[in-house]
């Protein structure tokens, strides 16, 4: 597959958000694998201290350091033949020390501040301040170059497993959040630099959802909030529908199953032909399962229609009944790539 012509050419910072339980971390990881074609380096960043990435890639807990965790999806969707996927867990404390060391050469002072509870201070009294440190690390990695000003970027792309939908607007709207607190001063300047990257066409915010009513509503609300909070300055990305259950029957049979008018006699005959027979009214019980499935498919279709109203590119990942391991991640990555997300 050609590495050009994805829906997000030109985007280098992919922010992935979603309601809790929708598979935000899994999707971010799959996207990172899909973006890491041969010869490219992709950085996957975790910001909420859950160590979800380490568990997904089955490696020891991530420190505040960029570590290689996997090899990306190669050409022709071959697992393990792509570029390198690095991962980094950013916490506000580490980001503060990093910030002090990087801009003021003051790591020692930073350690003293940590002991005094300055990080507690930041996260408690003004989450905007800790958010700017965390997003600052992500934008720094996005802008980082191998050498001088015109040299290539270190990372082809950065994927951030961001806070959930309910918090994403404020999390990304760093310069406004901070400017309420600091009209001038170094943290303000830093926030403005971060905001410039986040508000550039290099950044896109993707929303992960399942095809259920509440996650769909939160996705639409989140998109609206992002637009209203930032006056449209932060570009919305795509919507990734996760854990979709494909329909096992066509529309007519599904409609019959949903209304309870499915021909149970025909189903029983079919079961007999399959060799399992129809002991203990198996056909009637399986008809109940088909009915529930049909209701769920109808619900999913309604959810899709709602999501389409947002007018964003949509991608769909299937429910994997065996859970998520590395092989499953490659499978999801291939699915995302096939649909043009990477």
């Amino acid at each position: 597959m050609s590495t050009a012509d994805t829906d997000w050419d030109g985007v280098r910072l992919h922010v992935v958000t979603g309601k809790g339980g929708t598979g935000k971390t899994t999707t971010a990881a799959a996207l990172a694998l899909a973006l890491a074609t041969a010869g490219r380096k992709v950085l996957l960043i975790e910001v909420e201290g859950r160590q979800g990435i380490a568990r997904l890639f089955d490696c020891p807990p991530l420190p505040y350091a960029e570590r290689k965790v996997a090899i990306g999806l190669g050409e022709n969707n071959r697992a393990g033949q792509g570029g390198d996927v690095y991962a980094l867990a950013v916490d506000p404390e580490g980001a503060l020390l990093d910030y002090l060391a990087m801009f003021y050469n003051m790591r020692r002072a930073g350690n003293a501040l940590t002991k005094l509870g300055v990080v507690d201070f930041a996260t408690t009294i003004a989450p905007g301040l800790s958010d700017v440190l965390v997003t600052g690390k992500a934008t720094e990695a996005t802008r980082r170059r191998i050498g001088g000003k015109e040299s290539p970027h270190v990372y082809h792309a950065v994927v951030m497993d961001a806070p959930p939908t309910g918090r994403i607007g404020r999390f990304l709207n760093v310069s406004t959040e901070v400017s309420d607190l600091a009209r001038v001063g170094p943290i303000r300047t830093h926030a403005d630099t971060v905001a410039k990257v986040i508000r550039s066409p290099q950044t896109a915010v993707h929303f992960v959802t399942t095809l259920e009513e509440m996650p769909v509503q939160e996705t639409l609300d989140g998109l609206t909030e992002l637009r209203e909070l930032t006056g449209g300055a932060i570009a919305p990305g795509g919507i990734v529908v996760n854990m979709a259950r494909p329909a096992v029957l066509g529309p007519d049979a599904l409609a019959a199953a949903a209304s309870g008018s499915l021909d149970v006699g025909a189903l029983a005959a079919g079961l007999k032909a399959s060799g399992v027979g129809d002991d203990d009214h198996l056909a009637a019980d399986l008809a109940i399962e088909l009915k529930e499935h049909a209701l769920q498919v109808a619900l999913q279709d309604r959810a899709r229609t709602e999501l389409l109203k947002a007018g964003r590119p949509m991608y769909e990942l299937p429910m994997l009944t065996d859970g998520i391991d590395l092989a499953a991640l490659y499978e999801l990555a291939a699915t995302l790539r096939k649909q043009g997300a990477a």
């Binding site: 003293a112 501040l113 079919g270 299937p318």
Partner: protein, 403 residues
């Protein structure tokens, strides 16, 4: 190992139960569970009040309320034949905080605090304050004594543990050493002065560098205002804690049968134990069960393959569900009375459901083998979303009576 069954009706009916706290990681159905338990308690004769903290206003939807405004409102439609009643309220975090300030400071001082940029950031942010204000509100409702059962839905924290940590963190912070430094060295104890002399200038210069002088000044003003006003936030946090440790409180840990949610649930159970908080049990939401559990996944899949092999090759290919990608494609529109095609589809669907159920069971067993003393109640996955009282009633019945 099979878990002990969590007898929720006994907890709801026990008049000594005054507070039920529903906690767990995001997206596991906490709000719905809290609402369903509140409704069931009310219909069994309790004067119940459901307190939700969720900014998505989900409870409002499921309870048919259009606005929830920081005071409990009666929920219409609950069956009051047994003498109970149902109220619900949605926490307005900022308003709760404003009310505390207005109640504890003279009007001028209050206005000054309310206008401070740090106060505005603190009182409307989601981290920590929400948890603290939820506890504050719970304390107020409990103190008002108008309800004999309060069901609390905890904030959608990134992790279930935030809920326990945040009130203490805020209390510790407002009473902490940093505050002493910010409000002036005069307040710093002698032992700490020694440390300060060594690092004070370095630290203030660092703070100024990170924050800027004006920010530091605003923070100082805000903190000293709060400090004189409260005179000991920690005490408030501690009384909240004692309220939660009291025998009339029952903690319910909510989880979905997913590795992450159950891991959070595990941590939470251990944490509650360490804090001597009364844990009532685990609620496992969205469990996949089957009315045809006697037919195993393997046999079901084999039977569907038998049917596939009996059909024309082209029909076989199109009847197979497209793997991944956009769903709903690749399924032929089989006739409604094409018994074999329907049976093949039903068998594949059943195999998948059994597989999912088996995996969930394994995850639940892991939890139970780690926490054998924790009783468990399960709720099967619903084919459709719950958004009205009758839906909540069904959930309540499944929760309390099993299925």
């Amino acid at each position: 190992m099979s878990a002990q069954r969590l007898e929720l009706d006994r907890i709801l009916d026990d008049r000594r139960t005054r507070i039920i706290v529903c906690c767990g990681s995001g997206g596991v159905g906490k709000t719905t569970t809290a609402a369903a338990l509140g409704l069931r308690a009310a219909e069994r004769g309790r004067q119940a009040c459901v307190l939700t903290v969720d900014p998505a206003r989900r409870l409002a939807q499921s309870m048919g309320l259009t606005s929830l405004d920081n005071t409990p409102r009666q929920v219409d439609g609950a069956d009051t034949a047994n003498g109970g009643s149902l109220h619900a309220m949605m926490l307005d975090m900022k308003r709760t905080f404003d009310e505390i300030v207005e109640a504890h400071a003279d009007p001028d001082r209050a206005a000054q605090i309310l206008a401070n940029p740090f106060y505005q950031s603190l009182s409307s942010s989601f981290a920590g304050t929400q948890e603290y204000m939820a506890m504050e509100k719970l304390g107020q409702l409990r103190h008002a004594d108008e309800w004999d059962l309060i069901v609390v839905d905890t904030p959608p924290s990134r992790s279930a543990l935030d809920f326990l940590d945040a009130p203490q963190r805020l209390g510790r912070f407002l009473d902490g050493r940093l505050i002493r430094v910010l409000t002036g060295p005069a307040k710093v104890g002698m032992s700490f002065m020694g440390v300060l002399n060594a690092g004070f200038s370095m630290m203030t210069s660092a703070l100024t560098k990170i924050l800027g002088a004006q920010v530091l000044k605003d923070a100082q003003t805000f903190v000293s205002a709060l400090d004189t006003m409260f005179g000991g936030f920690r005490e408030r946090a501690e009384s909240t804690y004692r309220l939660l440790q009291a025998p009339g409180t029952a903690f319910l840990v909510i989880a979905a049968p997913e590795p992450d949610a159950l891991r959070e649930a595990s941590y939470f159970v251990e944490r509650l134990d360490a804090e001597r908080m009364p844990l009532a049990g685990l609620i496992l939401n969205r469990v996949h069960t089957s009315p045809a559990a006697r037919l195993s996944a393997a046999r079901s899949l084999a039977a569907s393959e038998t049917l596939d092999s009996q059909q024309e090759p082209s029909a076989t290919a199109s009847a197979r569900v497209a793997d991944g990608g956009a769903s709903n494609v690749g399924v032929s529109n089989v006739g409604v009375s094409d018994g074999r095609a329907i049976a093949a589809a039903a068998l594949r669907l059943h195999a998948e459901r059994m597989q999912l159920g088996k995996r969930e069971r394994r995850l639940a067993e892991h939890f139970t083998s780690a926490h054998p003393a924790v009783p468990v109640a399960e709720v099967p996955a619903q084919p459709e979303d719950v958004h009205d009282l009758s839906g909540l009633r069904v959930i309540g019945k499944l929760l309390c009576e099993g299925f």
